[in-house]
């Protein structure tokens, strides 16, 4: 389901390429580095997030993605460890996997997972693990899909992106980082989404752990 590789870029501090279904993103992290004067925060790490679309120039759609990723990453970063510093997160969407003019859910969920791997690769302090899934509910309102395909996504009545902060070996859910839903749904569905999404997030987190395990083996290969 999820394929990822860390350390794919040479010149940045941390990077990863992550494929989740039809969506592929590349993420790079540079930091902590010296910020520009206007970015500097006196007591904490400043974040600069850039999302580049898979084709064309960035638009407001990418700005919204940047804002959403920032909302997820900011609370988990150990940002008081690096006062007056800056971390840059760059995302390049390689394959969107969804009609870009209508949706951005799959990209968002892939970006969040990629951000986790790249931050770990860069060694920037984060206080907890996190993982994200995209969910959708088919037109009949019955079937709940985890990480839907493009064909399933456009048939869906509502789409949801869930990101959770996980603890204790990615088994315990500590906090809800993001739940963003669009479409037509009710409270009952939302609670169902939370429940199913929780299991899916834990599963995704375990897969991400495996990727990190491989990374550590690669890092200390000279031992």
């Amino acid at each position: 389901m999820l394929f990822a590789q860390t350390g794919v870029l040479e010149l940045v501090d941390g990077s990863c390429k992550l494929q989740c279904g039809e969506t592929t993103v590349m993420c790079s992290v540079t930091g902590p580095i010296e910020p520009k004067a206007r970015q500097e925060l006196p007591a904490q790490l400043a974040l600069e997030i850039v999302v580049r679309p898979c084709r064309g120039v960035p638009s407001t759609r990418e700005k919204l993605l940047e804002d959403q990723v920032r909302g997820v990453v900011t609370p988990v970063l150990a940002r008081y460890l690096y006062p007056r510093q800056l971390a840059q997160l760059c995302f390049q969407i390689l394959e969107s996997g969804e009609p870009e003019e209508l949706y951005s859910s799959k990209e968002l969920s892939a970006c969040i997972n990629a951000a986790f791997l790249a931050l770990v690769d860069a060694g920037i302090g984060i206080q907890a693990s996190f993982a994200s899934v995209c969910l959708s509910i088919l037109e009949d309102g019955q079937r709940l899909l985890v990480n839907p395909s493009q064909a399933e996504l456009i048939e869906s009545r509502s789409t949801h992106v869930l990101a959770l902060q996980l603890a204790a070996g990615a088994k315990k859910v500590e906090n809800l980082l993001l739940l963003e839903s669009y479409g037509d749904f009710d409270e009952q569905t939302l609670l169902q989404v939370l429940q199913t999404g929780e299991e899916a997030c834990v599963k995704t987190a375990l897969e991400l752990r495996k990727v990190i395990e491989q990374k550590l083996q690669k890092d200390f290969v000279w031992r």
């Binding site: 907890a128 204790a168 031992r223």
Partner: protein
């Protein structure tokens, strides 16, 4: 040693008292919980007095810590100090004119922009600019720091650099020494400076170091001999 630990996991600590936190361990000021903030291998060392804990992980960007021996690049000079870069784009550190052996107001050090220095980090508060020195500040005497003339730099990852510095039994440098004569200064900031008399030796050392970083120890010997062979057979 080989327990993998990720952010959000818990350290395997028996007592909560007298815990010393090393790199990768963080104490949340709100709930006073000690937790790992990077992914790596958990290292818990117990002494009579206290328990120290850190996460052994590999990264590329150096964050200054007091006592580290580093290789820096002079990027600017001011009326009383140099500006030194320890890694690209990081906040630069300062090297005071007074932090040299036999320094006085009249006796100014003669480093230029672009020079490499071997120095020690003497101040590293995360809120303030870090400082390095080229003198052993406890004795005030020369301790082998200062300008690195000539030579070249191989950039390696930080964990590999630490291994080269602290593990005296690590065979890489002695294997290299069998093939060539060289001077070496390892900066813990991921920069290995070395200087050979022969440019071909320099090239071979550079290639060996950078390749060995990504290979297992058993392969090192063959990698080194391969590089020396190809370069020494070439016409100077």
């Amino acid at each position: 040693m080989s327990t993998m630990i990720l952010p959000g996991d818990e350290f395997h600590l028996e007592s909560r008292e007298n815990v010393l936190l090393g790199p990768g361990a963080y104490c949340d000021p709100r709930n006073q919980k000690v937790q790992p903030v990077t992914a790596g291998f958990e290292v818990v060392t117990e002494t009579k007095k206290n328990v120290s804990v850190h996460v052994e992980h590999n990264s590329k960007r150096y964050i200054p810590a007091v006592g580290d021996l580093v290789v820096g690049l002079i990027t600017g000079s001011f009326s009383d100090s140099y500006r030194v870069s320890l890694s690209n784009f990081s906040t630069p550190v300062t090297l005071s004119y007074m932090a040299f052996p036999n320094a006085s107001k009249k006796n100014r050090p003669s480093l230029k922009v672009g020079d490499l220095v071997y120095a020690r980090v003497c101040k590293a508060d995360k809120e303030l600019e870090a400082e390095v020195e080229c003198v052993d500040s406890s004795t005030g005497k020369d301790a082998g720091f200062g300008l690195l003339e000539g030579g070249t730099i191989a950039e390696v990852s930080l964990a590999f650099c630490r291994e080269l510095t602290f593990n005296g039994d690590y065979p890489l440098l002695s294997l290299l020494a069998k093939n060539a004569q060289f001077e070496v200064a390892i900066g813990i900031n991921g920069k290995v400076w070395f200087k050979c008399d022969d440019i071909r030796h320099t090239m071979a050392c550079y290639r060996s170091i950078t390749e060995c970083e990504h290979r297992t120890q058993s392969e090192h010997k063959s990698i080194i001999s391969k590089h020396f062979k190809t370069l020494l057979n070439s016409v100077p």
